[in-house]
Amino acid sequence: MSFFIPELYILIMAGLFFVLSLAPDNPRRDFGLALFLSAGGLAICVGQAVCGEWAGSQQQLLFSGTYQVDGFSQVFKCLITIGFFLVISLCRKLPGIAEKRHSEFYLLLSVATLALMLLVSSVHLLTLYIALELSSYSLYVLVYLRSGYEKGIEAAIKYFIIGATASAVMLFGFALLYGTGQSGYLSDLMRELPARMNEPVVLIGFILSFSGFFFKLALFPFHFWAPDAYEGAAHQVSAYIATVSKVAAIAVLLRLAALSGGSEKLAAFLIVLALASMTIGNLAAMVQKDLKRLLAFSSIAHAGYVMIAILSMNVLGGTSAVFYAFSLLVMKFACFLVVVETSVDGKNVEIDQLAGLHRRAPLLALTLMLAMFGLAGIPPVIGFTSKLLVFTAAVEAGYLFLVLLAMFNVVISLYYYLLVVKAAYFTEPETEATPVSVSVPVKLLALALILTMLIGGLYPHPFIELADSMAESLLQASGQASGQAFGQAFGP
């Protein structure tokens, strides 16, 4: 059970906040405790990943073989707990959530984190489904918690309906896979399905199964919720949806895509989705006024770029998807840090409201600029490295035209990212805007983000090595899993 400690820890944290939600309200106590506990969770997760020596193919199966702990899942859990800690660090003031609901907010956030951690380790169709639903339901409620904003409820309902549809479609896909593969274990499916990818039922089963994770990733055609949910939810919740839940979705999509054994038909289908997603996202983002809506459309576009990595279905593709997950986490979080700090009383931030940010808060303006350039994929920011990796993987797989189209998309996206930079650096506010007071911890956080973004762009070697070893461990693990422990104990 020692492999399950990080999850147990987060579970206990959730339980604690459940108890606190019954006690009298005390937002300061809740924040302090959440920050402390999430830091502890991060430490435990990283500690376990470092001491466990997960390099190579070492893996551990739990719960009747439905739950797999390996290097791949552990590093993703580290990313998830990092994101969790970062999002909580934004919650010092939480004007977007009513004060009496703060402990429920932390409770739901912990449960969502727990669910995402379970998700990246799930290797059975049922555990995948349960973990996904657990995370989705926590997030539905979190979106709904936004106070003082009428559109919050609309956003929550939209999010819920599209999410429920996606899950239903995904369940149908799971049923098809289960029916043809005669097993719910991914390892069994792995053995059975690649040879049968030409059968329509298998192909459709895959495509439908992906939909639940397309929803999480906000990939076309399951992207409609993103702009409303980002806009309608409290900033911290949007930040969580934009960063942590995307990371987990990328992890699972990688695992599922590995099941298909590199089918070209599946790849052709995914290419269409990736192109549609990035084009729609980028074109729609150009006309946005609300910064969070803009970030939502940019997320849709980025879902398309990530799909390129996944559909390349080679080792470098895996490496680049992992790296992309990390870089998105950092860059999107940097954007939301600025949103949270510049927002007045938790209201949404219009792009025009960033006017004169370079004087009001130079450090935040710099963070925002780097994050925007990074999202646009311009060197020397981390986003460039991730795009370089993704595109190299795609060219290796023979998709030069796809890379060219994706690069044109990058140029389109540059337009709206530059508009944000222009607002922060060039436009002067009409009325003398209040200076943004930035506390010392936030300054340190911003500095750390700036450094990470620059190091990831200029000297990404260590990050790439880590991502590389993870991608290899995934391939080995899924390759080895065929038969052995899985099949002996729980074969159909």
Binding site: I378, V403, L404
Partner: protein
């Protein structure tokens, strides 16, 4: 193909360190200390100028190849290394960057608004340009290329003039569209080579690309870098950008940045895809000739001084393109020489116009007139730049243009004839500008303005001196370029 000679001392990195040191100093100094910031930038500029001059002089023409090579593993997993070197093509361009950097800082000595940020971005831009000219690793070439473009957006939008928002956005989108073609091209070649390295020397010598791969990749590079080089019909960002940018940025922009584009075609396109180069050369020659003629004709009709120079840049960069298109030693020599000469010339041009604009606050040719009467020195710089632009003997661009035209007449007689006749047009528009702004009836409104003080004249004197020195002694430049040009042409399949 090209031998690599390791450096005894990392002079190339020293240039980057000088830039980075200047940048750090500017960032550390408080924003109020504007004169300290200017001195720090000038010191950094002077140091890089000295080092690049040393590199230019110390480049050993008998040994040839890449010299002062320094290498450091960077991302071994992808075959990326920090690899720098100088050859006969990049040595003059590094010197050019040093000159424009130093004189650019001096030209902006009177800047008052947001001084600290201006010089920080300016130095960052220059760092990218230096990096681009010295990098021999495709990854770094691309990184430096973009590092040199990004600051342009802020520099134009914050410190620029006429329609700056439009110009800055147009410029960025055009140039980044160029990089959208370059990056897939680079990745394509690296992956197709199967060598797992981004190192340009290894790829040029060991990789065997099929003719189809070379044609495809060269086209991507030609259009991608060509946008930055102002190749017609992708040039429209350039006059608009020149006009909107502040003086020193125009100097860098026309003087050095457009050379990055031409240099990219040369370094990446021609070195990696010689077959593609020969295949597309007629098209390059055609577009270049149209550019030369179009730039000259468009310049004739402009009413804004900076637009005139902007279009003359399009025309002059066409000469570079024509030289590259001839696939010959003379053509390459002329093209690289022209990059250098045109860089110094436009820097002088914008510097002179910048001074006139700072005093009169107008650049409309119709409003000026008779400036030579009360600002004789300022006018003299302008006249020198104009004469260089026309290609008067004894000034640097004469030799460059001569070489290109000799080669062009040999390979494409028609294009050569058209290009030479376009020179007449460009002489016409240069002289027209000189006549209407410097001579003719005096505009009394500006009669009280003082001439260039000695201190502010230093950058212009320096630029004029460089033009004259290389005009009188072209062999100083020619022989260095020749070293690499001959090796390149001899190595052609």
């Amino acid at each position: 193909m090209m031998p690599l000679h390791a450096a005894q001392f990392p002079f190339l990195s020293l240039i980057l360190v000088c830039c980075a040191g200047g940048l750090l100093l500017v960032l550390v100094l408080p924003a109020r200390q504007t004169s300290a910031i200017k001195w720090a930038s000038a010191a950094s500029g002077a140091l890089t100028l000295l080092v690049s001059l040393y590199l230019f002089v110390a480049y050993d023409q008998t040994r040839g190849g890449f010299q002062f090579v320094e290498q450091l593993e960077w991302i071994p997993g992808l075959g990326i290394s920090y690899l720098n070197g100088v050859d006969g093509f990049s040595a003059p361009l590094l010197l050019l960057t040093g000159i424009v950097y130093f004189t650019g800082v001096l030209t902006m000595w009177e800047l008052q608004t947001r001084v600290k940020e201006f010089f920080a971005l300016f130095i960052l831009l220059v760092t990218g340009v230096f990096g681009m000219f010295m990098a021999l690793d495709l990854f770094f070439i691309f990184i430096w290329y973009d590092v040199s473009l990004l600051p342009m957006y802020l520099l134009i939008i914050v410190w620029g003039s006429t329609r700056r928002e439009y110009a800055a956005m147009k410029l960025m989108l055009y140039l980044l569209f160029g990089s959208a073609l370059i990056l897939p091209g680079l990745i394509y070649l690296v992956v197709q080579s199967g060598l797992g390295t981004f190192s340009l020397p290894i790829l040029t010598s060991a990789a065997e690309f099929s003719p189809f791969q070379q044609k495809l990749a060269f086209l991507l590079f030609y259009v991608g870098f060509g946008i930055l080089a102002g190749v017609w019909p992708f040039h429209t960002w350039s006059p608009v950008g020149h006009v909107a940018a502040p003086t020193a940025v125009s100097m860098l922009h026309a003087g050095v940045l457009m050379k990055i584009g031409a240099f990219g075609i040369l370094r990446v396109g021609i070195f990696l895809c010689p077959v593609g180069w020969q295949y597309w050369a007629p098209l390059m020659g055609f577009l270049a000739t149209v550019g030369i003629l179009y730039g000259a004709l468009a310049g004739l009709r402009q009413t804004d001084l900076k637009y005139v120079i902007g279009y003359s840049s399009v025309s002059h960069m066409g000469i570079v393109g024509l030289g590259l298109a001839t696939v010959s030693v003379d053509g390459l020599n002329g093209a690289v020489f022209q990059m250098f000469a045109h860089g110094v010339m436009t820097a002088l041009f914008f510097s002179a116009v910048g001074f006139i604009y700072d005093r009169t606050h107008t650049r409309a040719i119709a409003d000026l007139g008779g400036l030579a009467h009360h600002m004789p020195v300022a006018s003299a710089y302008f006249v020198i730049a104009a004469l260089t632009g026309i290609g008067i003997p004894c000034l640097a661009s004469f030799w460059a243009e001569l070489l290109v035209f000799i080669a062009a007449f040999r390979v494409y007689p028609v294009y050569g004839a058209v290009a030479v006749s376009a020179l007449v047009v460009s002489a016409l528009f240069m002289l027209r500008v000189v006549q209407h702004t410097l001579f003719g009836p005096v505009n009394e409104k500006f009669a009280h303005l003082a001439d260039v003080p000695f201190g502010l004249g230093i950058p212009r004197m320096l630029l004029a001196a460089v033009i004259v020195i290389f005009g009188l002694m072209p062999f100083l430049m020619y022989e260095t370029i020749q070293t690499t040009a001959v090796a390149l042409i001899n190595g052609l399949p």
